[in-house]
Subunit: 206 residues, 2 copies
């Protein structure tokens, strides 16, 4: 049976089935790409999750397994509303992994999801119900869980980082240069610029 | 001296000063709001960080301390390029915390940042240099580190979640309802819809 380090549950805040599914997906992605856990800024994850639907917990498992964390800027959402992610590693190409319909279907009648649909938060669901559904995740094989699409030609060019920063000339707070704006000739932060939400920058047509 | 659980460094992937700054900021926010670590979907964090600048590591500390994780959809970026975050907890209002200019200035001549600016990844920086800068973070007082703005009237209405999903009628993959689109009368996922990037939805003017 697959096992997760105890700290992954502590990080996540509760025991549920989708954090472990994400952890397993992350480990599987590393195996498929032939790479180790990322200490710094190596693996990038493009998660197909979105907002305001369940099963996003998966992404905490992805980060915990791979080291491609939100803080380091290594995981982003694509807002497709799917339980899937594409993993990219420099020099290794990419791989997309999707949670199989069959496995999703096998889980959905479980008491855990009946209670979740009633609005009961995961930590309030009885321990034995949660242990039972997590066991089914940890006992499944990678093949039962995941559908894999290898993307050897997938490439990605991360935006180049910069340490440049300056103080906003109105509020005095430090701002990284990319996010400085100009108002009445002063270099200012976005809130002090009072530039409205409507001022959305559209890409130049090509 | 402040101390972080060892697993927080394991989660993050390397030892650096900004993950601990974020952890301390998260603990301070919980103290100011009078709340515990979030097991489920309680605290929300609006981080003012953006892309492609350093110090984002802070956000891994914020998640680790508060339980407001990316996977659970509890932390988002505002893309202002500032080392600051607003913390909201249901029924408790909000608090904004900013890393003081004085503390940022005191850290910036440190050997750690000289090496980072040369492009050396955190885990490649000698252990003693990292231990030294982390010590200065852990020994500082909350007042030396943080500037606080209490926002008792701050309110936030999270988007209501839904378990509804259906299979894309082209690729057959499950899609949460919010992200289904329509193409030639079929309910399809966003990639199968082939709707272009240019089809951006702007908010209705009010």
């Amino acid at each position: 049976m697959f096992n997760l380090p105890e700290w992954t549950y502590e990080f996540h805040g509760h025991k549920c089935p989708f954090m472990p599914i994400g952890y397993r997906m992350g480990v599987y992605a590393m195996n498929l790409l032939g790479v180790e856990r990322s200490k710094n800024h190596e693996m990038r994850i493009f998660s197909e999750m979105g907002i305001a639907h369940p099963q996003g917990c998966l992404q905490d498992g992805l980060m915990a397994a791979t080291g491609a964390t939100f803080g380091k800027g290594m995981i982003e959402k694509l807002f497709y509303g799917k339980v899937a992610a594409t993993f990219w590693y420099p020099g290794k190409g990419g791989v997309r992994i999707y949670l199989k319909n069959g496995f999703a279907d096998s889980m959905s009648p479980h008491e855990f999801f009946k209670l979740r649909k009633k609005g009961i938060e995961p930590s309030e669901i009885p321990e034995d119900i949660r242990a039972d559904i997590i066991k089914s995740v940890l006992e499944a094989s990678d093949k039962e869980l995941f559908e894999v699409t290898k993307l050897p030609a997938f490439n990605y060019n991360p935006v180049k980082g910069s340490f440049n920063k300056a103080k906003c000339e109105i509020c005095g707070e430090y701002v990284f240069e990319r996010y400085l704006r100009v108002k009445e000739g002063k270099k200012v932060c976005i809130p002090c610029s009072q530039h409205g939400k409507a001022e959305i920058t559209l890409p130049r047509p090509r």
